[in-house]
Symmetry: C2
Subunit: 311 residues, 2 copies
């Protein structure tokens, strides 16, 4: 648990509650960040009755004892296995909107609003958390038309038109990569660090996007070339990334081809996606994803305040 404290009370609080982490922000009336804190008490570690305590342990010092402070939450806290299930909103729709789901809380000092995720009927798809980042992106890029790519454990490709999410697609590439590189026979031949062999990555992306079956056929070859030809662990890791991301590029081609793509994210993954798109002739721009959830939660807060005014 890390914490940056402030002497001013929060006007409202934003919480990005993922599977493995909880991040909270104290905001003033204008939306500026007064303080932030985080812990590892993500959805994966919590029973429903433990959510309020996990939240209060980070934010209690920010609360004004003379009023109720609204807390806006996005992410897996709203999942079926989370604090309380927040029903999905169906696309096409604006990325963030009500009704917000309000879990019962014991503290008289907070009121919690969970932002609903998005669903799509055909093909079936869901997101929870990314809708808030998307709202943050659109707040920072008013009028954006095109495709958002959000790399991650489950990457999301999102078609945006007229300020709304038209449709989207989820790929499990990140989770597959994690499983293959840590739990499969391939783990013996991969480097531990994230160094990239650019050529090995680029070649695998190109070959796999052109012939997607090469993605699967190429997996065991990493092991065999390690045994027979001394394939370096860095080249092996880079090629594995290329085999998997290449398959993703092939599967999503109908979404990104001839479109403006914003790749959103921080860390090592987003540059790999941007590089793959560029290699394939796509029009990709990378933007940091760090504050996007915060921007989307601000959007949720202002929606909620407007609803209250009109109530």
């Amino acid at each position: 648990m890390t914490k940056k404290t402030t002497k001013r009370h929060a006007h409202r609080i934003a919480a990005d509650w993922g599977t493995s982490n909880l991040r909270v922000f104290a905001l003033d009336a204008g939306g500026a960040v007064l303080a932030e804190a985080r812990s590892d008490r993500g959805m994966g570690t919590l029973e429903p009755a433990q959510y309020e305590g996990a939240l209060l342990s980070l934010i209690s010092g920010w609360l004004d004892p003379s009023r109720v402070t609204p807390v806006f939450v996005c992410g897996m806290a709203g999942a079926r296995q989370g604090w309380i299930e927040a029903a999905y909103r169906k696309v096409p729709c604006a990325p963030v909107g009500g009704p917000f789901t309000k879990p019962k809380v014991e503290s008289p000092l907070i009121e919690v609003f969970i932002v609903p995720g998005l669903s799509q009927d055909d093909p079936a798809d869901v997101m929870r958390g990314e809708e808030t980042q998307i709202a943050g992106v659109l707040a920072s890029r008013p009028g954006f038309e095109g495709v958002l790519c959000l790399p991650g454990t489950h990457s999301k490709w999102v078609v945006v038109h007229g300020g709304r999410v038209e449709r989207f697609m989820t790929m499990m590439t990140g989770e597959l990569y994690a499983l293959l590189s840590t739990r499969s026979v391939l783990r013996h031949g991969l480097s531990d660090d994230e160094g990239l062999d650019e050529d090995a990555y680029a070649l695998a992306v190109r070959k796999t996007t052109a012939a997607p079956v090469e993605g699967m056929a190429g997996l065991f070859r990493l092991r065999a070339e390690g045994l027979l030809a001394g394939l370096s662990p860095v080249a092996a890791r880079s090629r594995l990334s290329g085999l998997l991301i290449g398959q993703e590029m092939a599967a999503t081609r109908g979404l990104w081809q001839d479109e403006k793509v914003l790749v959103i994210g921080s860390g090592a993954l987003a540059p790999l996606y941007a590089r793959a798109l560029t290699l394939l002739g796509g029009d990709a721009e990378s933007i940091s994803g760090a504050d996007m959830a915060l921007g989307g939660l601000a959007e949720a807060a202002s929606l909620q305040e407007r609803e209250k005014e009109h109530a």
Copy 2:
């Protein structure tokens, strides 16, 4: 450890030493099985110095104290992480052949011969253990020409011509299936048993073979349809099999199309492969894989005996 004992001494002993199991057979001079035993002391659990003990604990009662009994071993005991590394033989070649690798043993009553695996330079590939099963298949089907399919954690597709392995290809489909169904987010929506929804399996095989990118794109849909549309856990598991085996069929099409294919194996996996091939218009016949390693080890023994006679 299970054991079936015999009062007669073994003329020779065959051992199939995999990653997770060790199976041994006492054979008479004609190759008939006098007794068999197994334990869970596979390569994954053993240090090099422990192999001889693991072997003797199963076979010591079969040994004639008045002579040296030869023990023929196939499988992972010959891997780099095994008892002693047995160099690969390069295809094209007969599936089983010398030189056999002889680990040093302390017991004066046994002499151990490890059957080498096979390697292919381009595309790089390796097998260890399956070469012995292939020899067993060819011993039971003299003159067979066509393709062998050996489903498993790492399935092998093997082109056989003139009694030799011409080339082969390994797919990690079985390992991917195991990882996705037990360790990924998909595990929440899959049935625990192996019941098959034939239609869900067949549809996924057809769609994925026709458009391999659907294999990857279809993974997260299993989760989303479970959440949104109540996809049954049996249908989800069956479709997952179809998405992965369909990709394998697409990747190996150049090997099986217009060829006679023997699908070798026991258990639930081999019928799924045979069914996929039939659905796609392939010419597939299923044969049990149970005694194939034994047949191949007998082949190795007779090679060794002939070599000795000529020495």
